[in-house]
């Protein structure tokens, strides 16, 4: 069974409370029943004293001078049957009920002493009284059945049970509420952590948290910090490798360019140079993708790098590269760029565009047509980035899979299978959605990335505030 603070608290609060309530109820019962019993016993004793007053010495014998009417009054009671007896020292019954139990041990004093006993089939409460008439030692006993006592007892019990139940229910409700209230900060921490983006490793706010939770939060924040630091170190390491690779790659590529320019009339050299150039470009692409991947990984994405980015302007930075790449495959590339701004990391967004277009060029085949577009919808809420090609298209069954790392549609084209995975990661970083469908007239592929539009500065700030508020 999983340990639970709530059930532990409830167990340790409720169990003792129930026991204490029970003991309390017992004490109250005894406190209430004691005086009632005394009063009832006094009544019995009164009867015994009454009988004592009716004892007469008749010669040598003692008689009970009790009229029939007086005896009826004595015996008839609203609820109980009453028994009495008068005995001499030898235990002979002088008057009353012969089957009255023996009570000698109780009659040491001349005071009425109450005790429990049985008469015939009845449980009774009795008093015994020692008295002397002339030289005779006599004992008087009076008893009554327990009906009235039982009634009183059950009334006390009934009231007690009601009262205690009420108290218990009220206490349980208070405990439940208090425990829940006490545990609420834990729930809040959970919500704070749950609501985070996949990559948010920033510290949890400790300010408004109860002091008991702070050490725990401190530990969590410490861990988050270490994970974040580790991630950053890994990122820095990857970036460093990419950096280390880029300079020799640049040298290699430049030398190749010199070589192929010098020998472009010799078909053998030109062919080798062109093949080496293709390899160099592939290495460069892989290196850049490695860097993109390190940067785009959601856990490494830093919100603070977000800025307002004009997508149309950003795309023009890459156009030279796109046109050159498209030329190599005799692909006609065109643009439909309208002003469109989003909040984002400009380097990642550029990686995204580069990967989308490179992918389209790579997989479209010769003489295809590629159109790169961006626009803001009529309401100004949504920015779309669209890359459409007239290539072979992607079978619907594979459309989800192409976003997986290392997935490749065919082995004919050389690619890392990382391009669209990077695009997906970057889209995730920017809370953008990607859809992939057939292009116009069902041919080719159209990839659409949909962003929330970056509003003018003031509105954007408000939006940001609102989201902070929700999180708090």
């Amino acid at each position: 069974m999983t340990a639970s603070i709530r059930s532990d608290l409830l167990k340790w609060l409720i169990a003792p409370l129930v026991v204490i309530n029970f003991i309390g109820a017992l004490l109250i019962y005894m406190l209430a029943w004691g005086p009632a019993q005394d009063a009832l016993d006094d009544n019995l004793a009164e009867a015994a004293y009454d009988l004592q007053a009716h004892l007469r010495l008749n010669g040598e014998r003692v008689e009970l001078d009790l009229s029939d009417q007086a005896e009826r009054i004595l015996r008839i009671n609203r609820t109980d049957e009453v028994f009495y007896v008068v005995r001499d020292a030898a235990g002979n019954t002088i008057a009353g009920d012969i089957d009255f139990p023996m009570f000698a041990p109780y009659t040491a004093s001349q005071m009425a002493v109450p005790f429990m006993s049985n008469v015939r089939q009845f449980h009774v409460r009795a008093v015994a009284l020692r008295t002397e008439v002339g030289a005779h030692q006599l004992w008087i006993g009076v008893a009554e059945t327990l009906t009235k006592r039982r009634q009183i007892q059950s009334r006390i019990l009934f009231a007690l049970v009601g009262l205690e139940t009420l108290l218990l229910v009220a206490s349980l409700a208070i405990i439940w509420f208090a425990v829940s209230e006490g545990l609420f900060p834990l729930q809040r921490v959970r919500n704070l952590l749950d609501e985070r983006n996949a990559g948010d490793l920033s510290a949890v706010e400790e300010k408004d948290m109860p002091s008991e939770l702070r050490p725990l939060l401190g530990a969590i924040n410490g861990l988050l910090g270490r994970v974040h630091k580790f991630g950053r170190e890994r990122q820095a390491f990857l970036a460093d490798i990419a950096h280390q690779l880029r300079t020799p790659l640049a040298g290699f590529k430049t030398q190749l360019e010199v070589l192929s320019a010098r020998h472009d009339r010799d078909p053998d050299v030109a062919r080798s140079a062109a093949l080496m150039m293709a390899s160099a470009d592939r290495m460069i692409r892989q290196t850049n993708q490695l860097l993109s991947l390190a940067r785009a990984e959601p856990s490494q994405f830093e919100q603070r790098r977000m800025e307002r980015v004009e997508l149309d302007k950003l795309m023009t930075e890459s156009i030279q590269h796109f046109v050159q790449e498209a030329d190599k495959k005799a692909i006609d590339i065109g643009f439909e760029l309208q002003p469109a701004s989003v909040m984002g990391d400009r380097f990642l967004l550029r990686d995204m565009i580069d990967n989308l277009v490179d992918n389209a060029i790579r997989y479209s085949g010769p003489s295809a047509e590629i159109t790169v577009a961006c626009h803001c919808d009529a309401d100004g809420d949504v920015v779309r980035l669209i890359v459409e090609d007239t290539g072979p298209g992607i079978p619907p069954a594979d459309r989800e899979k192409v976003f997986d790392r290392f997935f490749r549609l065919s082995d004919k084209e050389q690619g890392s299978g990382l391009g669209l995975a990077i695009v997906r990661d970057i889209a995730k970083d920017h809370q953008a959605s990607i859809s992939l469908e057939s292009g116009a007239d069902g041919k080719g592929t159209r990839v659409t990335v949909e962003f929330a539009s970056a509003r003018p500065m003031s509105a954007g700030t408000k939006l940001h505030d609102a989201s902070m508020h929700e999180r708090a």
């Binding site: 300079t247 790659l249 590529k253 320019a261 062109a274 150039m277 156009i319």
Partner: protein, 239 residues
């Protein structure tokens, strides 16, 4: 096709040779770049250390500085900082192997004019250098490519040696396209570049000028390609 992309056009060769100081500590890259730039008709001095570059810049007059950021001794940023501290407006192109925000912002804040991320294509590097020099005001007197040559002083264009009549606006558009040869330029850029002649013109007008220019320079072995939805690129014809 791949061959064509690898080919380095030896032209346009400006009459006044452009002097470049290249600071790069990777021997292979430095050698490659210097040979590529020489292929574009530039004069290239190479050094591998920031300290040496700093000394050279004090003594020698160059048209443009191409500078790697990660250098032994003092790094590229520091070279630029010292250069600017001396009051020089020498155009500076930074080469960086990183494209982190910090590098870029720092580079441009320090006073560099442009940056290029390694690895780059040779024509891109040459075009950036030319653009920087042009911006700094040192215009080459003559721009030549295949059968087309522009005398920028006399504002005269020749196709295979024969003078072609161009209007002032047509001339401005063609000169800009030649300056940006092998580079994609947007219609807006063209419009900006031909001011004040371009004032009050629409983007459609740019299309009209380009189509007229195409007719007039036909036969020079040069094409002005339309980049659909964006602009144009002047390059040597591949036929």
């Amino acid at each position: 096709m791949a061959q064509a992309a690898c080919r380095i056009p030896v032209q346009p060769i400006p009459v006044h040779k452009m002097h470049v100081l290249l600071v790069e500590d990777d021997v292979v890259l430095a050698d490659g770049i210097s040979r590529v730039l020489k292929g574009y008709g530039m004069v290239v001095d190479v050094t591998s250390s920031g300290t040496e570059a700093d000394e050279l810049l004090k003594r020698r007059e160059v048209a443009v500085l191409v500078l790697d950021i990660g250098l032994p001794g003092i790094d590229g940023f520091e070279v630029v900082r010292r250069l600017r501290a001396r009051g020089s407006n020498l155009p500076v192109l930074l080469l960086t192997a990183r494209d982190a925000v910090e590098d870029r912002v720092r580079g441009l804040e320090t006073g560099a004019d442009d940056y290029l991320v390694k690895p780059f294509a040779a024509p891109e590097l040459a075009a950036r250098i030319r653009a920087l020099v042009r911006r700094s005001g040192a215009r080459p007197a003559e721009l030549t490519m295949m059968g087309l040559s522009l005398d920028t002083h006399a504002k005269r264009a020749r196709v295979n040696g024969e003078v072609v009549e161009l209007s002032a606006r047509e001339w401005a558009v063609l000169e800009y396209l030649m300056q940006q040869a092998s580079r994609v330029v947007s219609k807006e850029q063209i419009l900006d570049a031909i001011l004040p002649w371009g004032e009050g013109l629409t983007l459609n007008a740019v299309e009209v000028y380009v189509s007229r220019i195409r007719t007039k320079i036909a036969g020079a072995g040069i094409v002005i390609r339309t980049i659909r939805g964006f602009g144009y690129m002047l390059e040597a014809s591949k036929e």
